[in-house]
Amino acid sequence: MLELNNQYTLMKRRIDTDVLRLFFDDRLEADADKLPFLIIPKDRIPNRCCIYKERAMVRYRIMALLGIDIERFDDEMKPLAEYVQEIMDEDPPAVPVLTTIITGCSGCPQDQYRISDACRGCFARPCLANCPKDAIVFINGQAHILEDRCIRCGKCMEVCPFHAVVHIPVPCEDACPVGAVKKNEQGFVEIDHKMCISCGKCARSCPFGAIVERSGLMPVAKMLKNGEKVTAMVAPAIEGQFPGSLAQIKAALLKLGFTDVVEVAEGAEVTSIHEAEEVVERKEQGKGYMTTSCCPAYMELINKHLPFLKERHSTALTPMAYTAKLCKERDPQSRRVFIGPCLAKRVEAARTPEVDGVINFSELAALFIARDIDVREMEAVDLGDTSSFSDCREFACSTGVAGCVLHRVSQEDIRTLPVNGLDKKSVRLMKTWERKAPDADLVEVMCCEGGCIAGPGTIVKPALAMRLRSGSGIPAGKVAASVLGGRPAAGGSTPASKMPSKS
């Protein structure tokens, strides 16, 4: 998986922000077709083959942001303005969440191991000795791999003392836990939507940006612009994603135009109470293990690949679903938007009538910047009474869900097993559970390694997010930063909780 911050994600955020700026200025339809030229100016040194391809890719990115299914509805003759008009009239359907930009695909050669010039042709030759298929031969004193024999096990790479063996993967295929990303006949990327669990790992892995999420941002931006009543339901992972406390993030959301802000941790409490009862009941009746049900990519995995787990996962609804129900009870008129780190959540939301929209943290950041809202400068607002569910903010981290459930169980002998991240290996392991049950009562499954704080829609790296969540991370100076001829610092008016002395 690519590092979270790279040229591509930064470009993506820039495009999101520019599109939103135009949208809120009522100029999107008029100026959308100018954007690729403004973002990729003539004098730019291109990262792709030329600026013209870069512009074409910016155009596709804008289409993805508008929610267009590029795979099916790409019309190069059609100006962006027409696409804008269409989505202003009617919101595009939410699923499938992922789509591909064939022209962006580099058509990476098949996954392979190759021996580089660093091979010294040593005497011990551990590659030769450890290859299970006799695929290594020595030619002119250097090792070579016989392609037709190689099974790509990687043993030679592990044992070479000179690191002379390189693995050249196909990043998207490598990242997909279920083998849904394939090549078409021309050798370019294709997603098998019948198999895809919408985890977004392929989109995050492609260094060319050829797999993209069809965003759900514009329907939400429309609600905000039209001044509709909208409740923001923020996922527990939001803490640590912005340079400010939860109270400041809430204030920023209200300034953005949301009429109310509700923590999904509140629904997570209902989920964990429900799961706590269920796991105890199952244990008493000797029914065997139960898995969590809050990760939507995992639920897709069950539906599409591991149907035997349908009897195993908890019947509790997800925190988002409970929260949406709570919000609907409190204010039936208001619409409800989920703000989270997750891509698969949009699949779940499409099946949950109480949820009217889903955006991710990265898109929320673009909204903030487009509206000139600085989270750090916000005056903290009251979060209300969070005492009963504040521990459920840990739902965002691996082992956090199981922890919250155990916290609500009186028995002490509940054995837990975390599945921290879905990949080919863990999926293979889970397949074996059909025959041999795991040695646990509660299995917590999270698709993203580390939990939701490592989700595809996040802004900061999990390591930093954890630090910001614990209150350290942003170093405060001796003087509460009054800045270089600038405005007075936020220090005076905001709570110091997120700005402790140097960590």
Binding site: P243, I373, D374, V483, L484
Partner: protein
């Protein structure tokens, strides 16, 4: 030996800088040379106003977030790599 004054470093953590890569700079404990680190006084600062204010005195020509101020001078488009180089120069100056 007279003690050298520490280099004053301000990392902008305004939302724009933070999401455009400024957050990465906050991991300086992990990537900065400890020797350079010991010569710096680093703090997170509110918006340095360089993104909004086109007239701001910015040291670079093509400057985008994230911004960092080093001894009062503002630098733009600072990534981890550039951060290291800039601080090294400032400490050894």
């Amino acid at each position: 030996m007279n003690k050298k004054k520490k280099v004053e470093v301000k990392i902008c953590v305004g939302t724009a800088c933070f999401v455009q890569g400024g957050a990465d700079l906050l991991l300086y404990n992990d990537f900065l040379d400890p020797e350079v680190l010991s010569g710096c006084e680093i703090e997170g600062s509110s918006c340095l106003d360089s993104c909004k204010n086109a007239k701001a005195e910015v040291a670079d020509v093509d400057s985008k977030p994230p911004f960092v101020s080093i001894n009062g001078k503002i630098y733009g488009s600072v990534n981890q790599d550039r951060f290291c180089k800039l601080l090294e120069e400032a400490v050894n100056a």
